[in-house]
C-alpha cells in the first residue's frame, strides 16, 4: 500500500527532473551524446526559440508603420534601408520560427537565431551607449519612450543573452526529438 501510494509522485518527480537536467543552459560534456535527455532538451530549446521568434515576428508584422519607426529610432541604418529591414526582418524571424518548430535544418536555424540575437544585442547596446531612450521594439511597438532606464536595456540584453546561449547550444547539438531532421534521416552532428 505504501509502495503504491508513493510511486506516482516519485515517477512524476523523476520525469520532471529529467527534463530540467536537460536545461540547455547546462552544456553537455563532449561525448555525452548518448544521454537520453539531450534530444528532448534540444526539442525544448527548439520550441522555446520558435515561440519567441513567432511572437516577435507577428507583433512586428501586425503594424508595418510602427516597425519602420522602431527601426529608425535606433539611428543605425540609412533611411533607404530602414523600410526593407523593418518589413523583412520579422519574416526572417517567422521563417526561423517555422524551421525550429518543425525541426528542419535545426543547426542552420539555431545558428541563424544566434547571429540575429547577437545583432540585436549590438543594436540595443549601441542605443544604450549613445544615450538614446528607446523601446527596443523587440515584440512590436518600439521607438522612443519616456523614462527608459539603464535597467531596461540591461534586462533586454540579459534576456537576449539567455536566448543566445540556448541558440548556440542548439546549434552545437541540434539532434532533437519530434523533428523533421530526424524523420529525414539526417543526423548531422
Amino acid at each position: 500500500m505504501e509502495d503504491v501510494s508513493n510511486r506516482p509522485p516519485h515517477q512524476f518527480a523523476q520525469k520532471r527532473g529529467t527534463v530540467s537536467t536537460g536545461d540547455p543552459a547546462e552544456p553537455a560534456p563532449p561525448g555525452s551524446g548518448g544521454r537520453s535527455w539531450q534530444p528532448w532538451a534540444a526539442t525544448t530549446a527548439r520550441l522555446l526559440l520558435a515561440g519567441v521568434w513567432a511572437w516577435a515576428a507577428l507583433a512586428k508584422i501586425s503594424d508595418p508603420d510602427a516597425a519602420v519607426r522602431a527601426v529608425r529610432a535606433y539611428q543605425l541604418l540609412p533611411e533607404a534601408l530602414v523600410r526593407p529591414v523593418a518589413w523583412g526582418l520579422p519574416f526572417a524571424e517567422l521563417a526561423l520560427a517555422v524551421l525550429l518548430a518543425v525541426g528542419l535544418a535545426t543547426r542552420l536555424a539555431a545558428a541563424g537565431s544566434a547571429v540575429l540575437l547577437a545583432l540585436f544585442m549590438v543594436a540595443i547596446a549601441a542605443a544604450w551607449a549613445r544615450g538614446l531612450q528607446i523601446d527596443c521594439g523587440c515584440f512590436g511597438g518600439g521607438g522612443a519612450a519616456i523614462g527608459v532606464q539603464a535597467s531596461d536595456y540591461l534586462l533586454e540584453l540579459v534576456r537576449d543573452t539567455g536566448l543566445l546561449v540556448v541558440a548556440a547550444l542548439l546549434a552545437w547539438r541540434p539532434q532533437s526529438r519530434l523533428s523533421l531532421d530526424s524523420q529525414l534521416g539526417s543526423e548531422e552532428p
Binding site: G31, G33, G34, R35, S36, Q38, P39, I61, P64, D65, A66, A67, V68, R69, R72, A73, E79, R83, P84, A86, W87, G88, L89, P90, F91, A92, L94, A95, L96, V98, L99, L104, A105, L108, A109, G112, Q133, I134, G143, A144, A145, I146, R173, Q175, R177, D181, S182, Q183, L184, G185, S186, E187, E188, P189
Partner: protein
C-alpha cells in the same frame, strides 16, 4: 539541386532514428557516401537549400507584403489649413519672432500633462505676440490616435482645430482604451459647435487618416521619435516639460523679446 545521389540511404535513416543522440560517428564503412561527400552526404538537397530558400523567399515576400500594407505612401486628402507638408497647425501671429513647435499624439499621457502644465504659458506668449505656436498631430500610439488627429483636422476645416485640440486633451482617456469611438469624436465636435454634415462625414470616413499617417512617418524621418517633442526655433528643448523650461528656451532664442 541535382544532387539526388547524396540522398541518405534508407537503412542509415532507420539506424539514425534508433540512435538519435550524437553518439560517436559510426565507422566510415557503415556509410555508403563517396569520400568526397563524406560528412555532408547524409543531407538531402531539401535540407540544405530548402531552409535558405525559405528564408530568402519569406523576407522578399514579406517586404512586398508590408509595402502594400503600409499606409503613408498615399495621402488622398490633405487638410487645406495645414502648414505645408510638415502638417502643422499654426496658432498666433505668423510674424512673431520665436517659433515653438510641439509634436503630439492626442492619446499620449505626457502630452496631456504638457497641455495642463505648459500650454497655458504657450497661450500667454502667443497672446503677447512673442511666439507663434505650431502643433503637429502625429499618431503612433494606436488607431485611436489616427482617428483623433483626423477628427481634429476635420475640425480645422471649419476653423475649430484649437477648440477641438483643447477638448481632446481635456477629455483624454487611457491609451487605446477604446474611448475615442466615432460617436465620441462626433460628440466632442458637437460640444464645440461642429454639427455640419461635412464634419460628420470626415470623421466617419477617416478622410485625413492617411495624411495623419504620412505626417507621422515624415516626423519620424526628421528625428521626432517621441511625444511630446518641443522645438524652439527648430532646436529641440529637452526640459520643455515645465513652463519654466519652455520660458527659458524662448528667452534664450530671443533675448530682446522680454
Amino acid at each position: 539541386m541535382s544532387t539526388r545521389h547524396t540522398r541518405t540511404h534508407p537503412s542509415k535513416a532507420t539506424r539514425s532514428r534508433n540512435r538519435p543522440a550524437s553518439a560517436k560517428r559510426p565507422p566510415a564503412s557503415r556509410r555508403r557516401a563517396s569520400p568526397a561527400s563524406r560528412r555532408r552526404g547524409s543531407r538531402s538537397p531539401l535540407q540544405v537549400w530548402g531552409p535558405i530558400v525559405l528564408l530568402v523567399v519569406a523576407v522578399v515576400a514579406g517586404i512586398a507584403f508590408q509595402a502594400a500594407r503600409s499606409h503613408p505612401q498615399a495621402a488622398q486628402a490633405t487638410p487645406a489649413h495645414a502648414l505645408g507638408p510638415n502638417g502643422g497647425e499654426l496658432l498666433g501671429n505668423p510674424s512673431a519672432p520665436v517659433l515653438v513647435q510641439e509634436y503630439g499624439d492626442f492619446q499620449c499621457p505626457v502630452c496631456g500633462q504638457w497641455e495642463r502644465d505648459v500650454y497655458p504659458t504657450v497661450r500667454r506668449l502667443v497672446d503677447q505676440g512673442r511666439i507663434r505656436f505650431e502643433y503637429h498631430p502625429i499618431a503612433f500610439i494606436g488607431p485611436e490616435s489616427v482617428a483623433a488627429a483626423n477628427a481634429a483636422e476635420a475640425a480645422g476645416d471649419e476653423g475649430k482645430f484649437w477648440a477641438y485640440h483643447d477638448l481632446l486633451f481635456a477629455d483624454q482617456a487611457p491609451e487605446n482604451s477604446g474611448a475615442l469611438t466615432t460617436d465620441r469624436l462626433l460628440e466632442l465636435g458637437r460640444q464645440v459647435g461642429l454639427t455640419s454634415q461635412q464634419f460628420q462625414q470626415n470623421v466617419t470616413n477617416g478622410t485625413y487618416d492617411n495624411w495623419v499617417r504620412q505626417a507621422t512617418d515624415q516626423s519620424s524621418q526628421r528625428g521626432v521619435v517621441q511625444t511630446p517633442t518641443v522645438l524652439v526655433n527648430g532646436q529641440q528643448v529637452d526640459n520643455a516639460l515645465t513652463a519654466q523650461g519652455l520660458l527659458a528656451a524662448v528667452n534664450a532664442a530671443n533675448p530682446g523679446g522680454q
